[in-house]
Subunit: 108 residues, 2 copies
Amino acid sequence: MEFKHLCLVRFKDGVVVDDIIQELSKLAAELDMIKFFGWGKDVLNQDALTQGFTHVFSLCFDSAEDLAAYMGHEKHGAFAATFMAALDKVIVMDFPFVVAKPAPQPEA
Amino acid sequence: MEFKHLCLVRFKDGVVVDDIIQELSKLAAELDMIKFFGWGKDVLNQDALTQGFTHVFSLCFDSAEDLAAYMGHEKHGAFAATFMAALDKVIVMDFPFVVAKPAPQPEA
């Protein structure tokens, strides 16, 4: 079962979000323990639902141990310092991800 | 590009979360416009990071139009009434999901 590290954030005014995403993409490409990285920006803008959060970042690992190895990696430390300084607010959730309805597989 | 509907929640005391998950799994199985349903419960329990949220629910659709069709479906209406009544707090984010590092594919 994959282990997810999910961040909801709102960036400070003036932050160049594309630069942050590019940096995290580079980190994900470099570190083998990151099995998947995806992100999104809310487009419905319903503040009562989003509570002001604008972006979601989703990293996937094979296990909680791999997440811990990532959190302890020096490249994560360097990125996290930049990332956290750019945030107005953040929520982080870490969980084994249960797939209740799998995505349809493309036909062979 | 897939379109995600992501909910972070904290349930009220006394709510049987397994029943809610079972109900949402049944709904996802019944409705074709839901392409994927997964969920997780935070296991690191770092309140400063989770802000007290405990569960994540992730529904995926082919498009924002399919999400809108789901939101307008009578079966969603019935479920949502139960779901919202069970929640202490909730954040909902709706976004096209950008895959920056795809998951490795199993070898053929």
